[in-house]
Homo-oligomer: 160 residues x 2
């Protein structure tokens, strides 16, 4: 079974995102071996300067990069990344397995985004939407797309 | 206060989407006067033919169009629509008010999408993502963007 690891900065705090992530994780387990890790975001002042943000992102990047499994395909979620349909996303996951890469690692940044070093480390920068979503809701959206990819690849029926 | 009406085919059934929509509706009420109506989707066979889908969509379209308020700006959510950033979306809502249009009506279709007659009726076809989301989760995503638009227009701080 293909492995998927999600590195998501910060814990879920809202009840509905916890429920939704638990539900999609359960459904994903039919298709993929899923792991989720939640490194702690760096604290920043309430109105951080660009330098303070850069410093926090650099520290977060160290934590993130240390969590990336060896030989995993790395997919960083960023608003400026490549967009694709759910079907293409399912192909991306399937093609990765076909290339003999047994694990894909998805990275979701903190509220300040991702440091350039993480984006450079990624094999794919993927954008779900040009709109900005809160990172908790975004995690639900990504999990749902991973579940959908499993359903699409298995030829199942799963309506939007 | 600007009015926003959402016409969403079908009731919410999953607990987490009910909780999330309740939460974002509550937050939206600081900025907009929100109404949500949920016309009942047409029943279709489990493996409907294109003709059966077309027939169901046409009936749903009648229900949808009858719910569109007179003189409202109409925004149909469809995967092939125009994409925009959250900031541009906030501008769209604000500009609509500035043009003297006091209500915006967003339309979310059923699992089969929206009939062409609804798309033609819309002033704007808007796409959040080229990816397909379940319509319940999609409603959460739209409500979050409307709340975010309110925060952006009010100059508030609201992190992703």
């Amino acid at each position: 079974m293909q492995k998927i690891k999600i590195i998501a900065m910060g814990k879920l705090t809202e009840g509905y995102t916890k429920d939704a992530c638990a539900e999609f994780s359960r459904r994903i387990s039919r298709f993929y071996q899923l792991t989720v890790v939640e490194p702690k975001p760096e604290a920043t002042p309430s109105d951080p300067s660009p330098a303070e943000i850069e410093k926090a992102l650099a520290k977060e990047a160290e934590k993130i990069i240390s969590e990336i499994p060896a030989r995993a395909a790395v997919c960083a979620m960023c608003v400026e990344g490549k967009t694709m349909s759910s079907e293409k996303f399912a192909e991306y996951i399937g093609d990765t397995a076909n290339r003999g890469v047994s694990e894909i690692c998805f990275i979701i940044g903190s509220s300040h985004g991702l440091h350039d070093s993480v984006k450079r480390r990624a094999d794919l920068k993927l954008s779900v939407s040009p709109m900005t979503f809160p990172h908790e809701l975004f995690r639900v959206m990504l999990l749902e797309q991973i579940y959908r990819a499993g359903e699409i690849s298995a030829g199942g029926k799963y309506h939007k």
